[in-house]
């Protein structure tokens, strides 16, 4: 009879192919919390009793205003959780209870929502969020280095929540980041300290590089269909009116000229 795999000491748990097997928790499973049995005597948390869950009036008013916009008030869960997150810093058990109380939903239901969406935080985080995009276009322009620099510079500052993010829909200013909701880019590595300092001071971050400053490349747009006039690489002078786009050639470390044109 073979000894049961899980009862082997961890270092002996080697797959049949001779390779070290998948990392496992102390209890032998790959699933965290696997050995914590559900307490079957306990009922799942109910919709909280309004008498026992105090909700800050401002938060309550905000959630109720969102609920009123929809035919079914449950549509306001994301808005409700986002409001509670702004209030508490993250979707803490307390925050969840308060939303549950106002929306008349179970905490379990709200946790299922809070764990689904990337922007809802399930752990305490720094109050300044810096989402660095590391998707295709940004990483082609040096996003990994940017993220590393940001992480290093904020490593012992608990006020920052620096994390990588999937494409933020601003690949034209790659490599970019969303800093407390404001899109900035292209960010060069030597701008990182300035950017972080501006966040700490509550000043606008890299004002000239904010997305809102960027003009669309309109003058060149809408070509007639027809045989192409360009073979291979383009000579610089054939690139058309220089005013078309204000952005210089890409490259992570290069600065870029920005248009002074005011846009939304």
């Amino acid at each position: 009879m073979t000894k049961k795999r899980d009862s082997l000491p961890a270092e002996d748990r080697v797959g049949t192919n001779g390779r070290a097997s998948v990392p496992r928790f102390g209890h032998g499973s790959r699933v965290p919390g696997w050995d914590e049995a559900v307490d079957l005597r306990k009922d799942p948390a109910d919709v909280p009793d309004p008498a026992t869950v105090p909700v800050p009036p401002q938060l309550r008013a905000e959630i109720e205003a969102h609920m009123a916009k929809y035919p079914d008030h449950r549509s306001a869960v994301i808005a409700g959780l986002a409001a509670a997150q702004r209030h508490h810093g993250w979707c803490s058990p307390e925050a969840i209870d308060q939303v549950a109380c106002v929306m008349r939903l179970t905490p379990g239901y709200l946790v299922s929502i809070a764990t689904f969406y990337d922007m809802l935080e399930n752990q305490p985080v720094g109050r300044h969020s810096v989402y660095v995009c590391t998707n295709i276009s940004c990483s082609l322009c040096g996003a990994e280095e940017l993220l590393a620099a940001m992480e290093e510079a904020t490593a012992d500052d608990p006020d920052f929540n620096v994390r990588h993010f999937e494409c933020l829909g601003a690949c034209d200013i790659a490599p970019m980041a969303s800093v407390d909701g404001v899109y900035v880019g292209p960010i060069s590595l030597d701008e990182v300290p300035t950017l972080l300092e501006q966040v700490r001071e509550g000043a606008p971050v890299l004002p000239a590089k904010q997305l809102t400053q960027r003009a669309v490349a309109e003058p060149l747009a809408v070509l007639p269909k027809g045989p192409t006039t360009y073979g291979g690489r383009m000579p610089e002078e054939a690139l058309g009116p220089p005013a078309a786009i204000e952005q210089e050639p890409i490259g992570p470390a290069e600065g870029s000229k920005q248009s002074n044109e005011k846009a939304v």
């Binding site: 986002a82 490349a217 007639p224 192409t228 952005q247």
Partner: protein, 449 residues
Amino acid sequence: MSENPTNPSSNGRTQPLLLRGIDEEGLHTLEVYRRRGGYEALTKALDMAPGEVLEQLQASGLRGRGGAGFAIGKKASFMPEGAMDKYMVCNADESEPGAFKDRELMQKNPHQLIEGLIIAAYTVGANRAFIYIRGEYQRQADVLDAALAEAQGAGYLGERILGSGFSLTLVVHRGAGAYICGEETALLDSLEGKRGNPRIKPPFPANQGLYQGPTLINNVETLATVPHVITMGGEKYAELGTESSPGTKVVSISGNVRRPGNYEVELGTPVREIIYGLAGGPPEGREVKFFFPGGSSAPVLTAEDLDRPYDFDSMAEAGSMLGSGSVIVVDDSVPVVDVALKVAKFYEHESCGKCSPCREGTRWTRTILQRVDDGTATPMDLDIMASVQEQILGNCLCVLGDSMAMPIGSMVQKFRAEFEAHIEAARARNPFGDEEPEPPLPVVQGAAA
């Protein structure tokens, strides 16, 4: 070369429709938008019967700009008639890597979208409309909220719009970061306050969508085009672009190009013109290695395909798709494995987990690609990966898994030699991969018995 019937211009180029004067100061306000002729299309549409507006949309041949390229006229015609709760939803989730056109359209010209949305809702008789915008677009959502309040104040939204019998309420609904919520049925679930999991289709949203009611759902760019279709007339609009892909398209172009950005082109413009002529091509001394013609979900094309016309059918013919119209250019300095790994990581992260082939398939694809990169793979792993892709394709409720399988499949197919060389080089560099040399097998008591 086709002449734009309404806007012939001095240089022979067609004038942009969606991006016309897009950087004009204050365009996001009602005042400037109206001064430029805004909301006249709505007035015109409300003077027509809904059926007549539908005819114009059908005549225009306008195909959806969100990914699938389904004609809006056809989709709208599937909506049942009669007085029931019907819904109009605008898909502004735009989370596909490489896409950023909807952002521009909403941020700079929000009224264009709102006008198109009202016309579309009028056409199908929907009285409640929602714009589902991704949570990261905070600025754009604020702009939309402000525009909406202005439109409401001017009587373009609300009860009995412009004195007609048509009423419409509009809500800007912010998401919270999930690519899957761009898939139309996942979006509806998310909008109903659930986790964004795709639904079984049929029933399609046109029959049973939001809150079980018939729902028309369209992309931002599709709806922003609607006022232009009404102003020009469907048939005139159809003269733009190619026969099967009429109109103009805002192309988001990014990656290894000198001038990334949004450009509006007539469909059918050669890809070379877009990548080299507009975006300036790759940086000095580099060449286009491959490009995604329609966002990260589209199979990649190579330099050989540069002279193909950029439209729905030509891209399909080339074995790829136009998708959301986002071109990501990768130049010859970038290893293909790096890009493949990025793509796989993205889809693994964004898979909602409802269907096993997608949840597990994206994870295994990422794992195998990681092995390719760290030197623990063999060339056989590429075949295993191909079989994983095969298990995903067509076996899930939505095409998120397929959207990973197809581009990665195309990369392996077109650059197999490079993948194999990458495997060999990584193995030579690091025979044990990232792992420690393994301990000897333990002798387990009684194992032989």
